[in-house]
Symmetry: C2
Subunit: 354 residues, 2 copies
């Protein structure tokens, strides 16, 4: 039985992406060679890389607007220090909305002054702070649009003239935003973009080249741009699978179309959380994420029964993160609505039998 | 037709690794889930990571000797700066045997003084310098054991008391060396270890923690060791495929067994290069690599005919690197001897028909 996979990342991708990726491991494009054994300088792979880069910009509506897309390695965690290396000359402003924001702040402090404009740590990050201003005298402003662990999401973006840097790992390609608001977007692939092993970086070229420090080659966005995202051997398979997934999204109608599906899925689960007296949502309602729904049992003694029902229904990956506890249903682009229905059905069953 | 794949990397892996990896993309261990959608914190993947780390140490004969194995991202290119970050306090010594050594030197210079003890750049790196001493007053000595582009290989290792750091990307797991000679070994996976997308780092723990600088978390070996090589999301699929490949090597009898096969393959091609008047080896004979044989036509007008014969015989990836020209046959662990025979047959045919 194919499971309902609510894993927070790595996470479900479309079945057709799995199928094509699996076939390419045996024989890539009828070349007689595996995708794992071809040169990253071969015309066939250069085409894959170019298509992936161009699809990323196209889907975000950033083509022809001075942006470059790169497929790098190291995850968002490497971007925490890499973005600071490239942009932090003196002082940067950060919004602290969760564990990943806090990690980004920690790394940036190694290279300059960091002003935390607001934090929701006081309530274990269950809300998005809104009462702050973006200083005008900073090199950039950094935010995390979706907080995977806590299930919150930033919905309003304050006007500013400073460059905006964003960790969009867990909501990129899932909802419509005016992406031109951002000057640097980075995202580990393993949620809405592809398998673990590559990191999308979308950067507006004109913000680069303004810091005075020497940047190690591998941490220098300009170096990677100059080599068309193949300065050294890229993670060939992860880029290929991501490209397949971006193709799938484009064929579905892009972000506009998937956003509607994501909204339906989110409404389904949040309605159940709010109606069912056995469950309680964790995140502040107006800040709820459409990607990760976090919730707890109101009566912990029901945990064993609920877990057993989930297992019987083939639900995978709904345990909450240790820093929140309870449950988390991650509903990325590729998760079918019927998986959310299956979860809601189990929640309902628990109530009926309780 | 399955091709004879002489690609310099990414390169051929055993057919059974392709098969198992391909199956796991559809269904990993009968879990009903793809290897691409499982959590990196799931017990099933933690087991994969632990087996990969332990196989790496076991095959190198380094188990229980104070070493740790890590599967990171970013390739050898990120290791150029990462190794310096962790080890370079004041001065380091480097042996310059090719383009990759030169790149390692360039990055290290950002963090401290670099003494180049010898270089073969004077002859386009066609030999390994032997007339040098390793200074006693440096933080470490860095070398590249196999030079993929030039087809040379270091065979003698000078005694020293300083830590030895080594880029072993293109010959790790291919020949027997006393690996305890090294304190830090790094290797991009995409030759003898697995697909592109992960980097093996083997480090002796007691050399760490001695520099005074603050190290960014993602560049700190101690951070990765402390998190069992899963500080952030590891490149799940690349680690899995590498683990399959290390299992294959162990089942074959380990490095001792594969070295014999590699020697046979190398003898076959080098004998032909030396006997056939239409070809000339590039690398100085005593320094020839068993992994990458570099050679040129003595008469360039035969190029078109030779290339056509190679194509007809299904030979892939034998073009030389642009900085050497001519041809390069990469003969990594998984390349069958019959592929080398097929190449030799074509070289022979060219002579017979010339």
């Amino acid at each position: 039985m194919k499971k309902h996979n609510f894993s927070a990342g790595p996470c479900i991708l479309p079945q057709e992406v799995f199928l094509k990726a699996s076939e390419a491991v045996m024989d890539f494009n009828n070349s007689g060679l595996s995708i794992l054994e071809i040169s990253h300088r071969s015309p066939a792979f250069v085409e894959v890389m170019e298509e992936a880069r161009s699809l990323a910009l196209e889907l975000l509506g950033l083509e022809g607007k001075g942006y470059q897309a790169l497929f790098l390695q190291g995850g968002a965690s490497l971007q925490f220090i890499m973005s600071a290396y490239n942009l932090l000359e003196k002082k940067a402003a950060y919004l602290d909305t969760g564990s990943w924001s806090a990690k980004a702040i920690k790394e940036a402090k190694l290279l300059g002054e960091v002003e935390v404009v607001a934090s929701s740590k006081d309530k274990n990050y269950n809300y998005i702070p809104k009462d702050y201003e973006i200083p005008a005298d900073v090199d950039y402003f950094h935010m995390t649009t979706n907080n995977t662990i806590f299930g919150t999401s930033i919905k309003d973006f304050k006007k500013t003239d400073v460059p905006v840097v964003c960790d969009m790992s867990s909501d990129i390609f899932s909802r419509q935003i005016d992406f031109t608001y951002f000057d640097l977007i980075y995202a580990g692939a393993q949620k809405n973009m592809g398998p673990a092993g590559t990191t999308l970086v979308v950067v507006k070229e004109d913000i680069l080249g303004k810091v005075s420090r020497d940047i190690p080659s591998m941490l220098d966005y300009k170096v990677h741009i100059g080599k068309d995202s193949s300065f050294n051997t890229p993670p060939v398979f992860a880029v290929y699978a991501s490209m397949l997934n971006l193709r799938w999204l484009k064929a579905k109608g892009g972000i506009q179309a998937i956003e509607k599906e994501n909204e339906k899925k989110a409404k389904l689960i949040y309605s159940e959380i709010d109606i069912n007296p056995l469950f309680k949502g964790f995140a502040h309602k107006p800040d709820r994420s459409n990607m990760n729904a976090t919730f707890n049992l109101t009566d912990d003694s029901l945990k064993e029964r609920f877990d057993a029902l989930c297992k019987d229904a083939g639900l995978n990956g709904i345990n909450g993160h240790r820093s929140v506890g309870g449950y988390r249903a991650s509903m990325y682009n590729a998760l079918p609505k019927k998986s959310v229905s299956a979860l809601v059905e189990v929640m309902d069953e628990l109530e009926r039998k309780a």
